[in-house]
Symmetry: C2
Subunit: 607 residues, 2 copies
């Protein structure tokens, strides 16, 4: 019977002259200006610094704030942390700290060289170290001041599905373990190696598998290799008038494969959906072969969907090699907006009503008062008219409207769609905002708030040079529990901090970064001044764990979009029933009996 | 550390006097008028019949068409099938055909009676038979004319999660197998028992676990037991001004648990989403214990989401006992609509543009010409003004607009939302429709088309009495492949039919029932006259398999929302890579090593 014919991939339609099916050219090698730092976040051309005037400044010319002095920043930090931060007292990084020699047998080395070129294999110490961490504060502290410990023994750069499959075979044959590497932007210790891993650790860097294989404008789908970086996907799709719409904060560096493995969320998910909404199909290299489907349908009911297991698998089940994703026409209109509210509660209420009465715009975010001040402290020096305007504005907000500087908050908005849709949404949003005491604060402040996301990511590494350790963590929670959760977490961190007699005051701030009809994502920043403390990274972790305990007690989730990795795995037994945990372990044991994919996230380091 | 505290369910908020959290009363026992037939589809008070005038009539008074004669129907059937159907020639059903005696050891019987009351255990033959099938044509043919074979040995009606857990333990201890039963509406042989199953088969009928446990209007969530039937969920939620919005064609009879296990799709998914979009959390009784989570968040990234495996699991991994689902305010406005198009292609083009330029209304469906005629043939006799109006309408459509009766098609629409949203959508929809040659055909025709869904489900069993066998099957497919797929399937079925020298002509018709940005769901009806043929059910299956072969060759999926069951399992190797199939088998073997949940769907009858 025809039903028993064997599996084969359906043939793709041919590229069409009307542009409905396009096969883009491969990406050229990235230019020098896109080089990334090994020791800190981001592009090599950008970093925070202290200017000759003693002001904080962002070097380079990549971002809007680049090259501008931020004179308010240091005074504000001193005020908030209640410490006497002196920019001449530097906690000088000793990067690269100790890097272990690679454990790589000549047999394994020969086997790799059997199908990879010399340029596809790297045993350089700094490269290996970079592939053994993401961007948690402990990891960044370790590579600068202590040591990271075990790191991958070799980094390989496969260029095809076939080479990935060969890596699987080779690792099996030589008792090595494979750890997929996308953009290295995780904040969950997901890439961190186990000290007692005795096998050779092969880091599989997917960056050369970065092609957009096809763009189907009739069905609005694209097939993209997993190593493609967010900014490249955006730029490449833009050439053809389309977008994937997925913009996590890390979009400059993170990859499609990483998004899937982490179950990522994009800033514009209200319009485009989260990664699980955007991906229709995945190809995965597993210990047992390739997980794939013959064709890709809009929606199906064909039994248990194994592909769904790959979302959030964090490298423990296999390597995503490509995915078919939804695409959208580039929005006809894009508008930023911002609204000031007299209090976090008022802004929160506005967001709630927004999800009830209207279609929320592509992005809507609400910062608390401290984070609002943080944003102001990052405003460049303005003179002349700019200064006057800013003073008048402040006068109006605080005197005329009666907003209190230590209570007021800001909401930033991004609208995307047709001109008509955007206009309709703006009308609805501002109508609801004003009903909740909001005051329109202009598109420029909105745009600035949104763009700040990218440059702000560089600040943590800068501050560490001055004895400040900080990081973010997030949760998702129902509307009814959200405000109490914010309060509880802030109170708990302040108490734990003062209980330990640590210097000054901690910095704890929250923002609502995503809204759902059923709840929100809350994103916290937490940091403190650590001069005189020998193990700030350990204290930070202790405190973050206390915050997580408080989050779970307050009805929040273990993570909205960062994932579990190794950082949060101890909390899993609190959120999943013993049966659920057992299922996960059994499943890992069954699908990867040799623990070939030994990243060990989610407590899945099973052998 | 606090992270290692053990698992416990988060406490729910208390019911609130403002109605934000409600604990509804348990459902009363269903009244007699809700009794369902054992031998045919639907409520006992409703069936098709032939009136004294020789016209088809629907008995009862439940539906709009009930009690009305349909004089055009039989002549139309004769014309389409090109057969001399005589309503006096009856293929009299011999229901109930042979029912095997139950295999139930006294030990197992005693064990069940140890924790279930007498009223919770049923070994009646007809009850057992009903629990051994769904509504495929072969199953319905079998219970009327041949025999169904192996059926469950006992039907139990658990009333709590604890009782379900005890059933798991009891089945394990006594080497029995458990098959969950929801509404029994599947069309995939999902409930059919293996002839060689030597263990006692316990059918676990979930109908008494039908409570809405809580309704949270602040976060717009409800926790509902899995045995709750769609129409009850709708009615109960409506009392509190909310809806789940999930309305599969079977909503009168199918259950929440069944929807999840089948990965169901609702007619209004454009507004409310499919079942996987609606369900935030599930509790599942598995062979290893209860799969559950401590709390429910709007969206998470906490590793592999095992709960997602339950969607489409078709009873093979465990029994869904409850779920937390999204709810929505009852729409302020609901409007039906319909549009006539000169051809299926024109209507299809309209639907495509609709997904590009507008937000599609809650439901939009397009029938082909034959199905349009089918709808007309089901119009009750109208006299006087109604008749005149109908004649004038027909004149206008065919003479003035020039639509050809054998080419024209109809699109039915359901708009739901605020009054403003509905108005906006209507404007957009009709603007696009008219651009594609569409002609507004009124809300009455739309409402009728939509309501027909429920009464039409009774017709198949009626026709079988007159030697007509028929069924539906569906697929999902990209926009670019959809029209060719429809043509290919129709042509293939016609060819296979004539190759076999079967009587008259087959009835093959298609409709587009769901739209996505990336493609559509296409729903086929296929039937034929079988007088003089001894094995029509086998021929039907052969032909449906040929159609499925054609669907897969044309880029369609194995199923959009019906599932795989046993009916389509032979096709799985064509759509999934060997690794994917192996993963499924390994996973089943690991999570249910004794095949305690022995429904055996998707080829998962592994021991």
């Amino acid at each position: 019977m025809s039903s028993s014919e064997t599996f084969q991939k359906a043939a793709r339609r041919a590229p069409a002259s009307d542009g409905s099916l396009i096969i883009p050219e491969p990406q050229p090698a990235p230019p020098e200006r896109e080089a990334e730092s090994l020791d800190v976040w981001g592009f090599r051309d950008t970093h925070f610094d202290v200017s000759e005037n003693g002001h904080v400044i962002i070097r380079g010319n990549r971002y809007e704030l680049s090259g501008k002095e931020l004179p308010r920043f240091l005074p504000w930090v001193r005020e908030v942390l209640e410490v006497n931060l002196d920019p001449r007292e530097i906690h000088a990084p000793r990067y690269p700290t100790a890097i272990a020699e690679p454990t790589l047998s000549s047999e394994l080395n020969d086997a790799l060289r059997g199908f990879l070129s010399t340029g596809q294999i790297d045993t350089n110490g700094e490269t290996r170290m970079r592939h053994g961490h993401g961007h948690t504060q402990e990891e960044m502290y370790a590579i600068k001041y202590t040591q990271l410990g075990r790191v991958p023994d070799v980094v390989v750069y496969p260029e095809s599905e076939e080479q990935v499959a060969k890596l699987v075979e080779t690792a099996k044959a030589h008792n090595a373990t494979l750890v997929p590497y996308g953009g290295g932007t995780n904040v969950t210790d997901a890439l961190r190696c186990f000290p007692n891993e005795r096998r050779s650790i092969i880091s599989v860097d997917m960056r050369r598998m970065n092609r957009i294989l096809w763009i189907d404008r009739q069905n609005m789908l694209a097939c993209i290799q997993a190593g493609a970086v967010g900014r490249h996907i955006m730029a490449e799709l833009r050439k053809y008038g389309v977008t994937m719409g997925h913009e996590p904060d890390s979009v400059e560096f993170s990859t499609l494969g990483g998004w899937i493995a982490t179950n990522a969320s994009g800033m514009k998910k209200n319009k485009y959906g989260n990664i699980e909404d955007l991906v229709l199909d995945v190809n995965v290299a597993t210990a047992a072969g390739t997980l794939e489907r013959s064709s890709c349908s809009p929606r199906e009911s064909v039994g248990m969907d194994l592909r769904r297991l790959i979302f959030g698998s964090e490298g423990t089940l296999g390597i995503v090699t490509s995915a078919i994703v939804k695409i959208f026409p580039l929005p006809e209109a894009q508008e930023y907006g911002s609204v000031l509210f007299p209090s976090f509660e008022a802004g929160f209420k506005f967001m709630y009503e927004l999800t009830r009465e209207a279609t929320p715009p592509a992005s809507v975010r609400l910062v608390d008062n401290l984070q609002f001040q943080f944003g102001l402290a990052l405003k460049p020096k303005s003179g002349g008219l700019g200064k006057l305007k800013s003073r008048i504005e402040r006068f109006f907000v605080t005197r005329v409207k009666g907003f209190q500087p230590d209570k007021m908050v800001a909401c930033t908005l991004v609208f995307e769609g047709t001109r008509e849709e955007v206009q309709e949404q703006q009308k609805a949003v501002y109508r609801i905002a004003i009903r909740h005491g909001g005051m329109k604060a202009g598109s420029e402040n909105g745009r600035r708030g949104y763009q700040l996301t990218y440059s702000i990511a560089y600040i943590r590494d800068f501050l560490m040079n001055y004895y400040i350790i900080a990081e973010s963590f997030e949760t998702s929670v129902s509307w009814s529990d959200a405000l109490a959760l914010c309060d509880n977490v802030k109170r708990r961190l302040q108490k734990e901090y003062s209980d330990r007699n640590l210097p000054g005051k901690p910095f704890v701030t929250a923002r609502v970064t995503q809204v759902y009809r059923t709840g929100v994502c809350i994103y916290f920043y937490f940091g403190f001044y650590y001069k005189g403390i020998s193990n700030p990274q350990e204290i930070y972790l202790e405190l973050e764990n206390a915050a997580r305990d408080e989050i779970l007690n307050s009805g929040g989730s273990l993570s909205h979009h960062h994932g579990v990795g190794k950082l949060r795995r101890a909390f899993l037994p609190r959120i999943m029933s013993p049966t659920a945990l057992q299922w996960k372990r059994d499943l890992k044991k069954t699908l990867d009996p040799g623990n070939l994919f030994g990243a060990g996230n989610q407590d899945l380091d099973i052998r």
